[in-house]
Every structure is written in structure tokens, then in C-alpha cells.
């Protein structure tokens, strides 16, 4: 299949999923500072249910900070963030509720090294969702099968390769049955031969209709699954568009510069 064909299929799908008009993430006029440093400037973003968004931009542009604001790993100072109808503010109950609905996958995996793979996956369902242990284990095995490592369930994270660890991290997040998944450069700490196995899992996840926000520089992945690509620079959302338009017809000079740099590799 040529890229153009794939692209046209993706565009049709994008149209189809855009039909779901329910807004699940709504960020309005959000600003964030680290001390004096203005990291996020007047961010407006709304994400529909089932939408798949790729966020890219140069290093230090605030991509991580933006998605970390969505589950309150970072606190914003101005504006509103509404996730699935719940407003993120200092109310701890709201924060906990949002965190249990939003799964997150980190660049450095952040698995719990003292727990087995299975225990990593069952901890939150048991203690946050109050699920009986047997049921949680069954659920965990289901997701571990889905990321294709059920045979590693009894091992410890330190015994797995990077790609396997990241797949465990994805399964662990999915075990909470989240409505939204956030990925912060999930493949950039991996050796090239492991990137594909993680991307494959993410593509399958995208096909299930999960709402996904993914910070990544994997442009192939963006092309393949994204409904929308967001380009950030210096704390601002500079441009957003369908992947096709974004790559073929970038509007701003900053985007063009970034794309030329990233595609030069």
C-alpha cells in the first residue's frame, strides 16, 4: 500500500471518529509557570472521545508539561482543565477521580521494581478500584496477553528488556480501564529494535477506539494513527492539523523548520 492510500484511509477514519462529538478533554486559556518561567502559554485544546492526538515539538517546548497537567502531575496556575466533565482544581477528590480515569505511560517506564509484573498490574485495580484479587489478576492477564507478554507475568521488571517493560507499563495503565491514555515519549528510551514492538501495541490500542494523547517524534506512527497532530513550540500550540495536512502542507515557519530537522534524520 502506498502512503497516499494509507493516508486516505486514515482521513476517512478521522472523519468517522470525529463524528463522536463528545468532548472528553477541555482545556481553556490555560497558563503555567515554573517560578518566573512561563512554560505553557494560553493553551486551548479540546479532545473528542476516541480521538488520537500526537503532540510534537522541539525539546523544552512544554509537551511533557502539557500532558502532565492533564492528570495533575503538574499544577497549572491559570485557566481551566476539564477531564470527562470533572474540573481539575485543588479538590483532592476530583484529582483522584481523574487520575483513576486517565492512564499514563512514561518515557522511563517507571515500573515498580520490587513487584512482579503481575503485581504491578493488579496493584491499582485492587486498591483504587477495590477489585477482588482474583478478578484483578484475570484482568491483568488479559491485558498482558494483549501486549503479548503473558509468559512474563511472574518475572520482575528488572529481568525484562526495555521494550517488554514498556509494554508492561502500557498493560498496567490499561488495567485501570482508563478512558484516556497519555503517552510521554514512550519509545524514546528504547533501542531501535524494540521501538516497533511498542508502537505495534499502541497502534492496536488506537484501533480499539481509546482516546489517546501521545507525545512522540515517531512520525510514521503519527501518520498511521493520529487524527490530529499538534505542534508546540516555546509553550504555545503553534499549529494543529490532520497528519496529512500537517506533513504535506505545514503552515508556520517554525513547523517547517522543525519538520525539516526531524525528517533530516
Amino acid at each position: 500500500m502506498s502512503t497516499v492510500e494509507v493516508q486516505s484511509i486514515r482521513d476517512k477514519e478521522a472523519l468517522a471518529s470525529a463524528a463522536s462529538t463528545e468532548v472528553i478533554i477541555d482545556i481553556r486559556a490555560m497558563n503555567k509557570w515554573f517560578g518566573q518561567f512561563h512554560v505553557l502559554k494560553d493553551i486551548n485544546l479540546s479532545v473528542h472521545k476516541g480521538e488520537r492526538i500526537v503532540i510534537c515539538g522541539p525539546s523544552g517546548s512544554g509537551k511533557s508539561t502539557l500532558i502532565r497537567c492533564m492528570n495533575r502531575l503538574e499544577e497549572h496556575q491559570q485557566g481551566d482543565i476539564e477531564i470527562d466533565g470533572v474540573t481539575l482544581d485543588t479538590n483532592l477528590k476530583n484529582i483522584d477521580q481523574i487520575r483513576s480515569e486517565v492512564g499514563m505511560v512514561f518515557q522511563s517506564f517507571n515500573l515498580f521494581p520490587h513487584l512482579s509484573v503481575l503485581q504491578n498490574c493488579t496493584l491499582a485495580p485492587i486498591w483504587v478500584r477495590k477489585m477482588p484479587k482474583a478478578e484483578a489478576e484475570e484482568l491483568a492477564m488479559e491485558y498482558l496477553t494483549r501486549v503479548r507478554i503473558p509468559e512474563q507475568a511472574e518475572k520482575y521488571p528488572g529481568q525484562l528488556s526495555g521494550g517488554q517493560q514498556q509494554r508492561v507499563a502500557i498493560a498496567r495503565a490499561l488495567c485501570m480501564r482508563p478512558r484516556i491514555m497519555l503517552f510521554d515519549e514512550p519509545t524514546s528510551a528504547l533501542d531501535p529494535e524494540m521501538i516497533a514492538e511498542v508502537l505495534e501495541v499502541m497502534i492496536e490500542l488506537a484501533d480499539t477506539g481509546m482516546t489517546m494523547l501521545c507525545v512522540t517524534h515517531e512520525m510514521g506512527f503519527a501518520n498511521r494513527v493520529a487524527d490530529r497532530v499538534i505542534f508546540m513550540d516555546e509553550g504555545e500550540i503553534v499549529e494543529q492539523n490532520t497528519p496529512h495536512e500537517f506533513f504535506e502542507n505545514p503552515q508556520s515557519d517554525r513547523t517547517k523548520l522543525f519538520l525539516s530537522q526531524i525528517l533530516a534524520h
Binding site: 495533575r72 502531575l73 487520575r99 486517565v102 517507571n110 521494581p113 496493584l123 486498591w127 498496567r172 485501570m176
Partner: protein
């Protein structure tokens, strides 16, 4: 060193076969200066061992009535007869002869209560450990002190008895069938089909009934009072350091978390507390505890010296432990907190399941080192007049028939401390290896 790889078991690391002669050659006699060092080392070892053997065994006097008699028999040898005469004193202090069984009994109960913690098939180890820490002190406290029991003490002793018996039965069931006491009880009474809530209530009722029975039984039980003044020897050393050790870790964790708290009041309080106690020598704290502490107490309210000493030791140990815990917490990467937050775990669950277990593992060597230090530091209570093992050893040399007998009791005391501390150190190494699941 050469590892002779055995073919066929390449899945495992090949075992090194050590040829002893080769090992000696490579490690001890490889160069001319290595040969000299080896020879020198061997000579020193020989001198020490020979000297010890000559003094402690060959020339030693084993049976005698007084030190005079020892010296008459052989003035160059050790006088173990004096140690034999005083050995019970080193262990029990001046605890009345007829009541010493109570100490033995207390130790046996403690050991039996804790053995299930090391049996692989027993479930609910955390509960067992908690029951020891929460209830054994009341049981042992009464057993060692004796006298009248207040109502509160009676209730606690009853609970302790029930938990102890429960733990033992539970352990036996666990070892033989891998089950638990609760489930066996439910099955025997035929209510295992009932709802969870009903089952739990039934178990609570059963436990209460058992406590009530134990309460009646222990009402008859009374042992004579033994004043704390008569406590001494290794027994006293272990009581003080045992309480210090068991409170130090939990209190240290609380203080360390307090010091990292977001709330300024708690943070400042904990920091001040830790810094003040850490900056003052234990001996000063002991003196202050026994002389100044009573000044703050209301008129007519007297604490005994032993309690004051124990409180002082606990506070001191907790502050040191707090700093160890804080160090361990700092070794945990930020990503672990973030991952725990991101999945919606609250503060206490995050600390309890994710952060503390990892931090404690890093801290084991430091913790055990600190506990060993604490055990040895408790000998300072000698100075404020408690008859711990060190003071009993000194008492032996003041005793009229054995006047001047210093070396031998000290030697035995050192040996006892060495055995205890060395086992703690070995156990900590074992624990470290066992808990090393990180494969980092």
C-alpha cells in the same frame, strides 16, 4: 581464577571449581611480598591463638570456690570458675532466683510467637508480626513485673494470650495444610457458605468469646511482684534495646515523613525534634531523663528510672532512624512517585506499597548497623546505676570471693555481645539477598 565451565548446563552460570592448591598459589603466594605478608599474617594469628589457648584452656582453672583458689591452682590461666559462679547473674541480673523461670518462659513465648514468621506456608505474616508488637509487651510486662493487674492490663493480657494461642494454632494449620485459622474455623462450624460480612462478624464474636474465656482464666493467675530495681544482666539489656529497636523503626518512619511533610508546622516540629536529639550524646539524654524529666511531671507522680531510661533510648533511636529513613526515601527516583500518583494511589498507599518497601530495602544495612549500635549503647545505662550486663560483670569483680576478677567476665561479655551482633549482621545480609528482586 579459572572457572571450569561444565558443558551442558550453559543455562546457568557455570560453577567455579576451586582447586585449593591453585587458589593458595594465586592468592597468597603469587609474589615475594605476598609470601612475606602471608607468613607474617600466619605468625600473628598463631601468636594470638596460642596465647588464647594457653590462657583460656590449657592453664585455665575450671573448678574453684574463690579467686584465691584459682590463683593457687594456676596463676597464669583464666579463672572460669568465677564466670560459672556468676554466669546466671550476667544473664538475669539480680532477679530473684525462684522467679527466673518467668524470664525463660517469656523468652520461649516470644520465640514461639515469632517462629511462624519464618515458616514459608503460613499466611498473614504481617498480622502475626503486628500481634507480637502490639500485645506481647503487655504479656511480658506483667510476666516480668508481677503483682496486681489493673483492669486494662488484665484485658490486654487476655488479648495477648488469645493472639498467642491463635497464632500458634494458625501456624500449625498453615504448615500442615496451607490453610488459615479463620477459614478452618468457618469450615468446622459449617458457615463457610455465608456472606462475607456475616463471616467476619462471626469471627469477631469468636475472638471476643475467646478473650472473655482468657480473661476469666487469667484472673486466677498472679505472680509475685519483682521490682524493676532487681532487673538486670543480659535480660535488662535486651528489654531496653528490644523496646528501643521495635519502636525505633515505626517512630523513625513517622518522623522522617513528618520532616518531608508539606505542612510547615509538622515539618518544623519533626525537624527540631530530630536535630535536638541527634545533637546530644545518649549519655546526656539518659542523665537528663532521670534527673530533669521528673521536674516536668506533676507533683506526686513518679516514674521509675527504668521507664525513663527506656523512653530516652526510644527517642534517641527514633531520631537516628528517622535520618536513615529519610536518606532511603531520597534514593527513590521521582518516577516512582509519579507512576503511583498517575494510577490514583493516595499518599498512604503510595508510601506503604511503593515507596517504603523499596526504601526499606536500601536501608537494611544502615538500619541493622544502627540497631547493633543501639544494643551496644544500652550498656551506658550502667552509668546511671542500672544493673545491665556490663554492670553485672563489674559487680562480679567486686564480689568478695572473686574480687579482682576482671578479664574473664569481660571476655564472656564481649563474646555474648559478639554473638548477638554478629547474628544480626549475618541475618541482615541474608535479608538483603532475599529481598534483592530488583536485578538492577
Amino acid at each position: 581464577m579459572v572457572a571450569a565451565a561444565e558443558p551442558g548446563i550453559s543455562a546457568q552460570q557455570p560453577k567455579e571449581k576451586v582447586d585449593p592448591i591453585r587458589w593458595l598459589k594465586e592468592n597468597l603466594f603469587s609474589t615475594w611480598y605476598n609470601v612475606i605478608l602471608t607468613a607474617l599474617g600466619l605468625y600473628i594469628i598463631y601468636l594470638v591463638a596460642a596465647g588464647l589457648y594457653q590462657w583460656g584452656i590449657a592453664d585455665a582453672v575450671w573448678v574453684a570456690e574463690t579467686r584465691r583458689e584459682c590463683l593457687d591452682k594456676n596463676p597464669n590461666g583464666a579463672c572460669w570458675a568465677g564466670v560459672f559462679a556468676w554466669f546466671e547473674g550476667f544473664i538475669y541480673g539480680r532477679y530473684p532466683l525462684d522467679e527466673r523461670w518467668r524470664i525463660n518462659f517469656g523468652v520461649i513465648v516470644l520465640v514461639l510467637w515469632m517462629v511462624p514468621l519464618w515458616l514459608p506456608r503460613v499466611q498473614g505474616k504481617i498480622g502475626i508480626a503486628a500481634s507480637v508488637v502490639a500485645f506481647y509487651p503487655f504479656f511480658a510486662g506483667y510476666l516480668f513485673m508481677g503483682g496486681d493487674k489493673s483492669l486494662f492490663l488484665q484485658v490486654m493480657v487476655s488479648i495477648a494470650i488469645v493472639s498467642f494461642i491463635g497464632v500458634i494454632v494458625h501456624a500449625v494449620i498453615g504448615v500442615t495444610s496451607g490453610g488459615s485459622l479463620a477459614r478452618t474455623l468457618l469450615r468446622l462450624t459449617g458457615v463457610s457458605g455465608a456472606g462475607d460480612k456475616l463471616q467476619r462478624n462471626l469471627l469477631i464474636i469468636a475472638a471476643l468469646a475467646a478473650v472473655a474465656i482468657a480473661f476469666m482464666a487469667q484472673a486466677q493467675w498472679e505472680v509475685p511482684t519483682v521490682s524493676w530495681v532487681r532487673w538486670g544482666g543480659l535480660f535488662l539489656t535486651l528489654v531496653i534495646s528490644g523496646i528501643g529497636i521495635t519502636t525505633a523503626l515505626p517512630a523513625g518512619i513517622v518522623l522522617a515523613l513528618g520532616r518531608r511533610s508539606q505542612l510547615p508546622v509538622i515539618r518544623v516540629l519533626c525537624t527540631t525534634f530530630i536535630e535536638v536529639f541527634r545533637s546530644v550524646p545518649l549519655i546526656t539524654i539518659l542523665f537528663m531523663a532521670t534527673t530533669m524529666f521528673p521536674l516536668f511531671l506533676p507533683e506526686g507522680f513518679t516514674l521509675n528510672k527504668l521507664v525513663q531510661v527506656i523512653v530516652a533510648v526510644c527517642l534517641f533511636a527514633a531520631c537516628y532512624m528517622a535520618e536513615i529513613v529519610r536518606g532511603g526515601l531520597q534514593a527513590i527516583p521521582k518516577g516512582q512517585y509519579e507512576a503511583a500518583h498517575a494510577m490514583g494511589l493516595g499518599y498512604w498507599r503510595m508510601m506503604g506499597f511503593i515507596i517504603m518497601p523499596q526504601a526499606l530495602k536500601f536501608m537494611i544495612p544502615n538500619i541493622v548497623g544502627n540497631l547493633i549500635g543501639l544494643l551496644k549503647d544500652t550498656t551506658l545505662v550502667t552509668i546511671i546505676g542500672l544493673f545491665d550486663i556490663l554492670n553485672m560483670i563489674q559487680a562480679a569483680s567486686q564480689d568478695v570471693p572473686w574480687r579482682g576478677l576482671h578479664k574473664e567476665p569481660m571476655f564472656v561479655g564481649a563474646l555474648i555481645f559478639f554473638i548477638i551482633c554478629f547474628s544480626m549482621s549475618k541475618y541482615s545480609q541474608h535479608l538483603e539477598r532475599k529481598l534483592n528482586t530488583d536485578h538492577r
